[in-house]
Amino acid sequence: MDIYSSLVDIVGEDFVSNQEEELYIYSRDSGAQQPRKADYVVVPKTVEDVQQIVKLANKEKVPITPMGGGLTLSGLAVPINGGIVLDMKRMDRIIEVNEKSRYAVLEAGVTQGALHSHLEKNYSHLEHSMPDAPPMATIVGNVVIQGHGHLSVSCGINSQMVNGMEVVLPTGEVCKLGSCAVSPYWFSRDPLPDIMGLFIGWFGTTGIITKVSLQLFPKPKFRDLLTFASDDLDLLPDFIFDITQLNLMDNLFIISQEWPPWAQGILYVPIISAQDEEEFELKIKLHKKLLRKYEGKITLVEGKHAEKMRAARLPVPPVTLGVMAADAKQGGGFEYTGGIVPIEKVPEVSSRSVEIAHKYGQPYLLGYQLLTGGHSMMCGLAYCLNRADGEDVEKVRKALDETSKMILDVGGVLWKAEAPAQSLMMQRMDPNTVKLMKRVMKALDPNAIMNPGNWSD
């Protein structure tokens, strides 16, 4: 039986395609990376479907690329060596919400929007850390790429919020990891050997996550943001240090972009929340008080610009700023280098990013997010691109490449890096670490069927 017929046998005719139209769509995303052709698109419904597909792929030596929302922008769910794209979004059950232990068990296709809505409707006192991505992004996709959410400062990054997972290994076995491996409850990642790390950050090269348990958090009754403005880039590390010493924020964005003009300097946007009004007002007051130390150099923004920032950054999920910025070039394309850097390196990253953007004729569009209480900064160095203009796409691709090199030069690492940027990191990586990664991948995936071409030097 040929591969197509075997796939039809597994998931049914409606959920397999090898027609040009589906292959076209699944062979590219909205980023600047070159299209890479898929051979089959398959939409499984159950973990058994996934197991059978993996076994078939092993038998036929066909690559599999798992896909969630397909919104990484860096082509991580676009197959590098063809084969099967496994669109996980039909596995969309919210299996359980454990209110008292604050976690939700979800299938791999559950979107950020669906979980948000489910909690709003049924557990309005709980929330999950919602990323800046559109709500079509999946929870599992965000975990796999070590994404960030609106609680990144107070509660950590989203891959740290995983209590447990179910994984289909590249050889077809199903494994449960975390407390659910020894208990009916999916409440904790510890105290067990942390095998989950074998599937986080590997972009599907080590297995397919089919379920996760995600931590939920108290939803605050009061929530607001402040906007601080500054033109002095050199103050940034000290100011970040001081504001994180308060240890009172949920999240901190830093924005600097060429358009609109009022956002050309540095805008600090701490998000502050509380369950109690008095506590909330005190937190706001303490953040404002911090400005005394930076009098005249960092100022509070009020009025219409503060309101614009509030409208853009306060909603969960966010709806405006990222979306509108992405359309600045009216070209339907957008990608950014996500550089995760030590905080003291942010000024250098900023000034060099502006230089690179201008060198390639692009407006600068910098959006940063503080991670894990103030241990590092995710620097989103973004480029809009016009998909209709091949030259523009090529320029952006070059700008991204140069930006990635710059991030590595200053001592940073690259977040959800596209395949060429992964290679850049591998080239600079401790050779024994590279060897270890290869041994892990080989041990788990002997036929190299899982999203091959990623984490390759």
Binding site: E22, I25, Y26
Partner: protein
Amino acid sequence: MALKDYKDIIHRCFRCGYCKFTSDYSYLGFNCPVYNKVRLESYSPGGMMWLIYAALIKEELKPSKHLSEILYSCTMCRNCSQQCKFQFNEDIVNILKAAREEMVEKQLTPPMVGQFLTNVYDYGNPYREQKQNRDNWAENTEIKQYEKGDEFLYYVGCVGSYDTVSQKAARALGSVLLKSDLSFGILGNREICDGNEVDMLGEKGLFEFLKEENTQTFKELGVKKIVTLSPHSYNALKNNYSNEFEVFHYTQLLRDLIKSNKLDVSGGFKAKVTYHDPCFLGRYNNEYDAPREILTAIPGIELIEMERTKENSFCCGGGCGNFYTDILGSGQNSPSRVRVREAHDTGASILAVSCPVCLMMLEDALKAEGLENELAIKDISEIVNEALL
């Protein structure tokens, strides 16, 4: 506008996916009826935009029968335009319509679409029914032909005229209008298709022909005001015909008649009722209140909203000729079955509609779900008719 006029807009879609949801991202399922059923990205609004650009503008793909199946699977419910965050959101359905015009020109329409259009051209309706049978539904009623001087033309549309389920609504509305003091009449065998679906299916020439024929008939008879049974007719006549006629959907007219005490609904209708917004009344024409004002004016009705309601309403799957072409197909996840389950979950005993297409689609789905003993589908015209003293 022709597709080429959108060439600088089509590629602006990012496939970000807001278009698939309700405004509050309802966890009940995706609110794009096509994507919710098919679950392939190519069938999402963004997928369609990218394919239209690739095949019909950039010529990276050859226009094919499969592309045509994808483009014609859309019911044009306008959820995508409603939910898209970008400035070009209003153009999404227009781009799809323009792409369908290209498919018609290239003779690549799916066979059932071709049949629909041919039937409308040959018979004035998609069912291949004889023109002289168009007003059979009105037999044994006192509903008369429109005469010069009548205040309202009651425009029934193809589905209300020929579909046996929807004919109940056509008769009920006729009965209600007879009980009011309005002078009205129908076109009978002179009525032909309003062309709403023809236009959406991309047969521009046929739509223009239908528009001219209907307009000429209206003018000959001195029609000034039109009340339509179907939101599809309402949309075509109000927005795509000349503005010489004052057009009402029947819920707007009945609402006004009830408010001005010209219809007495104090007979009541005792039931828990949930209401399904038709796309061509709601999202296309922003009329969400009139049907609800009627229902809440009737004593005994307890109106319960479904989770997805008003601008977030979930399409029944019948739009743009899908009630006939059935390109979206049946099955547990067909939009009408999903919607019937959602209505059932409210605990209502009546699912009220104000559209003959929704009525037939949801009635079929009710049977497929085996819920006939727990839920009934009724057009608001039937409910009002039962409540009249």
